[in-house]
Symmetry: C2
Subunit: 347 residues, 2 copies
């Protein structure tokens, strides 16, 4: 009998990252953070730090050109990286783009894609300073984004204490519902209902929460923070893993958009699943020390972004979901999306 | 009759980059160089600059796992980016890796690949500080490399003056011959002749010329510089394009390795083609003001790297090849390799 050789797809993305981490020597100066947060942190001569994050998007895995416009994809490729800089409390400065393109791709599609990315960069005051362009069967987009911050203001994933309040910005789950609508059918934009348009727009045009994050960071109000890209529960696990903490989440307090509420029924947990595990919300998930809730509310108001307290950090591991009726359940089996674990299948 | 829609593969990579450049606003402070050189240049608070370069390697286009080992590929993915930092006269500091992997890739291959990359990073004193890992049908490797330099020491592609001597480090054309051998057959390593092993090693394990480049930069001896990745003539055109200059190259002065000389016959131009257009040499191509040749020789000796004067920069456009017999020909029709122009075909 031949034993099957272990493959990279077997254990999911985070196990692979863990394998890479084990091969690496400890991070040393001037870097203070390498793998394991939303961005690397590198000390600069003037008391500032350089933040660096990089994301790779693959056609057929992360996006589908059949239902995503060139302009939306150009915008979103930049926005997801801006969101990582936001999650560290940073100000984005410049970016680099490596692009694999099928040679048969139409030049007009390419130009619309690039124009939207350049336009988005300009509107966030980010310079596109370099990259690489290569041929491939499928489109691959790799963006590296730089940001800056005062060293003392950087917010890490690590830092949430038992008793800290758990907050999320905006609303969650919209992007997953928007993607579901896009997958279901190619309804022309003019025939979409208002909730449909809203949800699809949330999927295609995520808003990186740079202002809110920056204010939270400068006020030293967020004890830990990341952005929700793999699903609320999945990212919450990353936040808690850094400290070995647990959390309780009150489902009634999840910020759900009117469009989301219209699309889902809430008889049981099912209705909450897109909000809990859907992914690609690019909202901020952060903790605030108990007693500073009013400050947080003030900052959110000044930034013009809704924030919602959805629960607390608790001592000990695991995430408990508190149902609207008051019942509790462990969230252990509810996983965020993992492109590796789901390899070959579609979300 | 339906007109065929223009596609990105029609005009080659450099036309695409030109299209991107046209969409971009001018580079502004703190950046002083964006697209158009081996690395972007960003001014820092302490008189230093941050150099940033990014490269994307696609399976089946830039490498083939059937004849390239995991360790060689891990090493080379890093080396080609180090070479770009060298070409600016910089000192590499840290890097970021985005990796698309087929889920069916064996874990042992992946681990050998990563271990070689981490090992190479360590030996060049470079920290691997972050990245992204995603699933895809084919492997894609995107490395972003950071370097530093004193602002005054950076060497750009632009700057070569008529009369400047044209130099290349090491030997050229070996990598192309090595790749040809790898493609021809899967001869086990133990059965390779010494020249075969040499050439294959030159393809799989390029040596970034960091020490030499750094010394040339600090001595302000190179008036312009880049690294030879697209083929000597192709990259020479990039060097000259920045200034609207021409060049003459003496074929007899091309630095060819003994292995190269053994593999090729030199009855006509044919024998020189791999050296002129082969690509992936990762040697330095640079110009030195006339009269400073002895200084250049001294620096090369101190760095332990051979350099060869292969010709001069001349007024006016075009590259003239001077044959061993003294005859001249225009090099206009000899192109470096372009993955887009050659899409679908193999080098």
């Amino acid at each position: 009998m031949v034993e099957k050789e272990p493959v990279v797809g077997a254990d999911g993305e985070f196990s692979l990252i863990e394998r890479i981490r084990k091969l690496l020597p400890p991070v040393r100066e001037p870097a203070t953070m390498g793998l394991g947060d939303d961005a690397a942190v590198i000390r600069q001569a003037d008391g500032q730090v350089l933040l660096v994050t990089t994301d790779m998007l693959v056609e057929g895995v992360h996006f589908d050109r059949s239902f995503m416009s060139a302009a939306d994809l150009g915008y979103k490729s930049l926005a997801v990286n801006l969101s990582d800089i936001a999650a560290m409390g940073g100000i984005p400065t410049c970016c680099f783009l490596s692009l694999a393109l099928p040679p048969s791709l139409s030049l007009s599609w390419f130009t619309a894609f690039m124009a939207a990315m350049v336009d988005a960069a300009g509107s966030f005051d980010v310079q596109l300073l370099g990259g690489d362009t290569v041929a491939a069967d499928k489109m691959v987009i790799a963006v590296t984004m730089h940001g800056r911050s005062a060293a003392a203001d950087v917010v890490y994933r690590k830092g949430g204490q038992p008793g800290d309040r758990l907050y999320v910005s905006g609303t969650v789950g919209d992007s997953a519902l928007g993607l579901r609508l896009l997958r279901q059918g190619q309804k022309p934009e003019s025939e979409r209902s208002e909730p449909e348009s809203f949800l699809i727009n949330r999927h295609c045009r995520p808003r990186p929460r740079l202002q809110l994050a920056r204010r939270l960071a400068e006020a030293h109000l967020a004890s830990s923070m990341l952005d929700v890209s793999d699903g609320l529960l999945g990212d919450l696990r990353h936040l808690l893993a850094a400290d070995g903490r647990g959390a309780e989440i009150f489902l009634e307090q999840l910020p759900l958009s009117p469009a989301y509420r219209k699309m889902q029924s809430f008889d049981d947990l099912e209705g909450y699943l897109p909000a809990l595990t859907g992914g690609e919300d690019y909202e901020l998930l952060f903790t605030v020390p108990s007693g500073r809730e009013a400050e947080a509310a003030g900052i959110a108001e000044a930034a013009g972004v809704r924030i919602s307290c959805i629960g607390s950090v608790v001592r000990g591991g695991g995430i408990q979901l508190v149902m609207p009726g008051g019942g509790r359940m462990a969230a252990d089996d509810l996983r965020g999306y993992d492109h590796f674990a789901a390899a070959g299948s579609k979300r």
